[in-house]
């Protein structure tokens, strides 16, 4: 029993980070109906930027802020330079193009920062809290991760539900034609969706880096988990992405704890298949069915 609790506690922060990554995928899907397989490539790239800033200034926080700004910019660049031109021709082409962006970003990162894994130490203590005479697998850093994710998700939900720009973004996602007829500049809203996704991905990248190491391909595995969470959540539901992101993190922690962490991607795949078999439209989706 105590193992079970340990595994769950250990999975909370990675679950929260997967939730952010899934959220980034959903934000892009909602705005342009494209699954952005380069999302974590962008996050890897901005995390390298954070690492560089941190090495130059010694400030983790400044690194995070710069990475967030870079995430915004990279999201907009990818949208305007790659997705919009390709999507004008063919939607599935745009999805393939995101793979191209991923490969290009990984190659570029290897050229700039080298291919070897780099340490990205946590800014605060990452050893577990002590209580009731034992050490629990939940550290001050985990708490920082959790607090950051909660803050970001709350901030996003305020933007989406309480502001004009959030309303315009939601309307552009649900019905671009009605939004345009109401006077919303829909193309800007789509670009903004990519920008915010880039920012959210950048935060996820900086937060996840201390849990392993940073290399051009070290985030690839998280794409599997985030994609699983986003799809099960319904791909266009922000709530679904967060709920199933955390859920996926916990399941992975249990699988890794009771068997071996190398089984985690397999379990994610099984979850994805089960979802597509029994509830292909996703749990929180607005739409009735989705072709698979």
């Amino acid at each position: 029993m105590i193992d079970f609790i340990d595994y769950l506690l250990g999975g909370i922060s990675s679950g929260a980070i997967i939730a952010l990554m899934a959220l980034a995928l959903v934000l892009v899907w909602r705005s342009t109906r494209v699954v952005n397989f380069a999302q974590l490539g962008q996050a890897m790239f901005t995390t390298y930027i954070a690492l560089t800033v941190r090495e130059l200034t010694g400030s983790w926080f400044l690194g995070l802020i710069i990475a967030m700004a870079a995430g915004l910019v990279v999201g907009v660049i990818v949208h305007f330079l790659v997705i919009r031109p390709v999507k004008r021709l063919d939607t599935s082409g745009a999805i393939i193009a995101t793979f191209g962006v991923l490969i290009a970003l990984e190659a570029l990162a290897a050229m700039v920062w080298g291919g070897d894994p780099e340490a990205f130490p946590p800014p605060i203590n990452n050893s577990g809290y002590e209580a009731f005479g034992r050490i629990w697998p939940f550290s001050p850093y985990d708490l920082l991760v959790l607090a950051s994710v909660v803050f970001l998700v709350l901030a996003l939900s305020v933007v989406f539900t309480r502001t004009n720009v959030g309303l315009a973004m939601r309307a552009s996602a649900f019905n671009p034609e009605v939004a345009r007829l109401s006077g919303v500049r829909v193309n800007r809203m789509l670009a903004l969706g990519w920008a915010i996704a880039g920012l959210v991905g950048a935060v996820a990248g900086v937060l996840v880096a201390p849990l392993s190491t940073l290399s051009p391909t070290s985030f690839d595995i998280f794409l599997v988990f985030a994609f699983t969470a986003a799809v099960i959540g319904g791909l266009d539901s922000l709530v679904g992405a967060v709920a199933f992101g955390i859920g996926t993190g916990l399941v992975i922690a249990l699988v890794s704890g009771y068997s071996d962490s190398s089984n985690a991607p397999l379990v994610a795949l099984v979850l994805l298949v089960l979802n597509l078999l029994f509830k292909p439209e996703g749990v929180f989706s607005h739409h009735k069915a989705r072709a698979v």
Binding site: N164, L167, R170, A171, E177, V178, R180, L181, S182, G183
Partner: protein, 234 residues
């Protein structure tokens, strides 16, 4: 106010509109009637900037609007209520309304919102409910309300009667007619339901296979037996 000058539009290989010219003056309802496929919706969508014309122009207060984007045309003061009660079901009633005219000042939008709730009290009562909980007639009111939120000088209504009970259609159209008269709004109404449309309209225009076959005072058109049999099917 709104003038359409020799407009031709192709829909793929089909000539949807052929050399259509008409005037939409302020303060009254102008009705374009015709059977399904006459080109009525194409006319509306082209005016709103959703379709590109092959030839001809749309003029609004003597300004050429041809080729402008929908989001710019609505900002100039032409609002389209598209066919099929185009509300967004996932948003609340008030969110659907607030979507209209976001570029306007806070005060202008507040005034418009009060006015829309006064015109359609049921929307005020349901303002926090999701739009998909509304009945068909309420959703049509919501769609018109959203167009009014943009502060239009010209209102384009595409087939508002579709799927609604006749009594509700009459109520909504009479409201629109009053509004046009009171506030100088230019209303272009496109309808298959010719009898109802001609009752509120001042001018009637009969469209058949993309061409205007007759235009004149609405009352005369309504009484023209031959026209009715040939093009309007009642």
């Amino acid at each position: 106010m709104l003038r359409i000058d020799a407009l031709s539009v192709n829909y793929g290989a089909v000539e949807a509109l052929k050399n259509v010219s008409l005037d939409v003056p302020p303060g009254r309802v102008t009705a374009v009637i015709g059977a399904n496929g006459a080109g009525k919706s194409t006319l509306m969508r082209t005016l709103a900037g959703l379709e590109k014309p092959l030839a001809g122009r749309g003029l609004f207060n003597d300004e050429d609007i041809t080729g402008s984007k929908p989001e710019d045309i609505v900002r100039m003061g032409i609002a389209l209520v598209p066919e099929g009660r185009s509300t967004i079901p996932d948003l609340t009633v008030e969110e659907n309304l607030k979507l209209g005219g976001m570029w306007r000042t806070h005060a202008q939008r507040a005034t418009s919102l009060t006015r829309v709730y006064a015109l359609f009290p049921v929307l005020g009562e349901r303002r926090h409910l999701r739009a998909d909980t509304l009945s068909g007639g309420e959703r049509q009111q919501l769609a018109i309300g959203r167009a009014l939120m943009t502060g239009p000088q010209a209102l384009l209504l595409d087939e508002p009667s579709l799927g609604l009970a006749p009594l509700i259609v009459t109520q909504i159209l009479e409201l629109v007619e009053h509004m046009a008269r009171d506030s100088g709004l230019a209303v272009l109404l496109v309808e298959q339901n010719a009898a109802t449309a001609l009752r509120v309209a001042k001018t009637g225009i009969v469209l058949n296979l993309g061409e205007i076959v007759k235009s004149g005072p609405a009352r005369e058109i309504a009484q023209d037996e031959e026209l009715r049999h040939a093009y309007l099917g009642y």
